[in-house]
Symmetry: C4
């Protein structure tokens, strides 16, 4: 019997002492900070503008608008209020506000014309400002489109993973659903386990023969867990992803106490195709050991509508579960032949 | 001989009593409604604006335009008509309309200037409105582009599926064509059957030994039906998709009466590449049991043009068929070796 | 020994009498016209605007601009010239041109304001026009972006295919290169042969035993031709695609006369990835039997630059060839083991 | 034991005398120039505008703005200064500048209206200019969006490749990291070796039997080098790509002197998926023989943050290495079974 595929590294490293508390943050980003390159090399201006919250985006636009108008108002005042043809007022502040709003009318290209530029310098300033305004709003147009057109795959995940009875044995389960109206098809899931394994090291003992206590070496290991079903054609309702606890599973026979002590993290990676946006989409989510409930099963989250014409998916029930008694840890799930065939990549007898 | 691949779930669930009338709507969307999350989490603003009909989109733009101008007209009146420099009139309504159209000139950044803002409050209002106008039209620019640039794969499907004579046996057929001028290449089809299977349950009988009538359990089963040809290089003309009714097919030997009673639904999923848009495209379509014609064959829908220089595809004939006598239900289609090889994923001897 | 894979249909149909002169036009489009659906269903507005030549696109924009201004000029005249505040003139035409250019200033949102709308009707017209202008130019913005941002894979093909000496036997060759500066990687080629095969039909003879001349049935057959190399990592220089004329090839032992009489067409389909646009790209090209040169070989089209620092690709030499003597038709190319392995999908011993 | 896969061509050609100094430039482009087609066929306007540096892009916009305004100023002067209604001045230059800034106000559609067009010719010019302005800025809008929205995969590569001790043998290593905040997933690496091999040619000796010195033929060969790990799920930290120097490797037993004389170039090609942009991305990098350090090993470039909550990736350390003693050239790395399985495509025993 072949052993389960072990990854020494999935891109997160194996040295336990060099790693932070978790690999994937709850929002799907990597729990990594980067240093050593300047902020200009590190950040993507586009990325920042695309992913900042809406209120921040609007605040930034309005803030920039005010700052630029203030600067140009001063420049127009410097060129001289009399070169703002038609501006009226008695005090410096009167003229300043005329300049400020003239600037606003210029940068938005409204250009009412009650106040208009006169003389070379004011005209040059106004030309530069209107050109800059057009370029700036061109940029904002692109950003707004980019923000809207980006398919954000916000899958809904069950709060916990469950260790549930499964085909006479035990299965580790999580549940996902698509809260959006987008049509997601060809969804594929990869479930990885990352935990710390402890092995006794003999070499240490040899170099230090008087020590009677063997040394322990900690190493972070990665496993791809075989799934009952890796792929579905349509993510129309909910999808319960099941890792059957067969003897080949690294979780087989592991006690809850040992499990909680392993710094385990389950990473679920999803790839699929968004038919609304005609784009490939992907997302990931992670569960820490403390988020695994021992002995529970998911309750259904969809039902037939009252008229009987369609199915209703109740997204509030994504995490709804009931306690369930697990079979003996040695019980092995009965896997249909077809599942054994699917799981061949990882497991083989 | 291996059995045909059975899917317990393709994303639509298996509990018969919890499901609506059909899985896929005639327009390709899922027959599912979602509840339990707020409308803001559920809907994608972009999705809605991108997929609404054109008249609705234009109505929305014009409606928003009128509403916003009405609001700003009131705000300008509140700031005082005299601060709309150049506005003329005698009655309140005269000034209101001046304000309304001044607002329209501001939000579109036309800014003729016959009427122009004067004083701080009116100027601030006008600045906000022109900025909002630019942002709003930036958004509309993006939406219009998104609406146009989205490759909508509108394949034309034959109204019915046909059970037709095929290579000495019977084949289940549907026909598709591309009505658009886009070049579709590398088209792949997956045909799934979903129906309700009834099995007698012995366990019930055991717990209730006096009952002489065995209990019936209904379960929804999903099959991927092997096709004569899953893939074509170019969707230039029509494509007749054929599922040969070989002994491994779940439809082999099924009578029309039993079939109609099975709540069967055929889901045809298509994936391909649109060379005009340089994008992957996909679509799905479904047929209910009542849409299957027993004993008919498609008539050709293309012919050589009169000049002989090119081929003409007559899309009106997509559903055109003629009656045909089916062979005995036990007759098996003669499959060329190559087809048996292609079908290996699903069927094996 | 397995036979070469035969396709009964690649999306172009098999009935010889129903087909036009060629399958793929020299510009890569399908030689098919479509009828039976209204033009609105058939054409894609976006597709048309994206693929029309530049002069036509600009003409359309300017034409629409003139037409819409003419219409609005009449509407403004209808509302009354006196409601175009500030318009000057003596004759009807004077006022008409004022109206026409006022319209132009409104639709472009320049709005100088020498002439400005006055009164409800003119103001409503002007509001509608400026809104329509913004929407129209939003559309044009999208179209211009779409036209520029679309990766047009314009591969350069050799004018003819060559039957050339190849590894002691014969190979059918074509040559491609990328004339653009885009980086094309992971290029894959599929070469198909479509020709008419003639078989004697015995059944006809049986039903008509007095006829001594056997009937001939014509059928169009499609073959995927195995290639020496289907895939290259980088399309940096030229790529010569070679189909070795091994005994399994349908072209093995075929005489030039028989070949020219077969209505043969070779379709070369290319797929790859454009690193400049970060998009998958694809294109196809076809050669008719008359475009195959018997006994010639391509001359190199790249050389080391004078400074020795880089390689020069001379695209003018894409079709450059020299006559070459072909070995006996029975000579078989010596294929390295690795090639036999690659060709396994199609040929097997 | 099967031999390692040899590519005769990866798209770069095999004739040594016809090639330039390196295949891939340090910035990832091909070291090839193209001639023989006009510049219009060769360059992509979009490509150029998208990839030019920002300062150049802005200079181009400002330059075009000035040139077009200068041209239109002359045209307005030609039509006559009196047809610029409201323009003021005494000298020709006074009127010229009025015309110049009127042009600027027209092309940006600010249109203050202090100066406005009067008479047919000036009005026609102004209409054309405002239309051209809208089209031009539509184009710039698209370009700005294109520039920002393009996922530029700027992977950080170690300056040198290292020949380092690896599992009891030797491995050829390079290290990459993602300096950007984009999430890169499903990264795949292909490492190719291109070098010149020299073989004695007997045929020459035969035709010239008096020559006692055998002739040398140089040919450029391409190898795909098997990797310890070709694929990682997440590029969260650094990724050290290792080619183990097993006996099947073309580098096995090669001395440093012979290696430096081989004109070797290693090409590393990366493909992956950018989750921020929802797009496939790819890039390549190359190392010449002189960039390979014999006997060194990479030092770690990530560590646990002080708070212990996350991992810190220090990008400055990407090339940081320390000297290491290589085992005897005949030592073979101990490969886990799983690696042998992964490497099956290339190597087999």
């Amino acid at each position: 019997m072949k052993k389960l595929k072990v990854y020494d590294d999935t891109g997160f490293g194996t040295r336990v002492s060099d790693q932070g508390a978790r690999l994937i943050n709850p929002n799907g980003t990597f729990n990594v900070t980067k240093k050593g390159v300047s902020i200009w090399e590190r950040i993507s201006f586009y990325h920042t503008l695309i992913t900042m919250p809406w209120w921040q985006f609007h605040l930034m636009v309005v803030g920039t608008f005010i700052v630029i108008n203030t600067i140009f108002a001063f420049l127009y005042m410097l060129a001289g209020p009399k070169f703002m043809y038609g501006s009226q007022g008695t005090t410096w502040w009167d003229y300043y506000w005329e300049a400020f709003f003239f600037s606003a009318q210029t940068i938005t290209t409204v250009g009412y014309g009650r106040v208009s530029p006169f003389g070379i310098w004011t005209n040059i300033l106004a030309s530069i400002e209107s050109l800059a305004g057009l370029m700036g709003f061109a940029l904002i147009t692109g950003m707004l489109y980019g923000r809207f057109a980006r398919p954000v795959t916000k899958l809904l995940f069950s709060e916990n993973m469950l260790l549930a009875p499964f085909n006479g044995g035990t299965g580790l389960m999580l549940r996902v659903a698509n809260p959006k109206l987008d049509l997601l098809i060809d969804m594929e899931c990869t479930l990885m386990l990352s935990w710390v394994e402890r092995t006794e090291i003999d070499t240490e003992q040899v170099s230090n023969p008087t020590s009677s206590k063997p040394q322990i070496r900690e190493i972070r290991r990665y496993y791809e867990l075989p799934l009952e079903r890796k792929y579905i054609n349509f993510l129309a309702l909910s999808w319960t992803i099941v890792h059957p606890i067969i003897p080949e599973s690294p979780l087989f026979g592991v006690t809850e106490a040992k499990f909680l002590n392993s710094d385990a993290e389950f990473i679920a990676k999803f790839k699929g195709y968004d038919e609304t946006f005609n784009q490939n989409v992907s997302t990931q989510y992670s569960y820490k050991a403390s988020q695994v409930t021992w002995g529970a099963r998911f309750k259904p989250m969809y039902y037939r509508s009252e008229t009987g014409s369609h199915t209703v998916l109740d997204l509030e029930k994504i995490s709804l579960s009931e306690p369930a008694i697990l079979p003996s840890p040695a019980a092995i799930p009965i896997m249909p032949d077809v599942l054994h065939a699917t799981a061949d990549a990882g497991i083989n007898s």
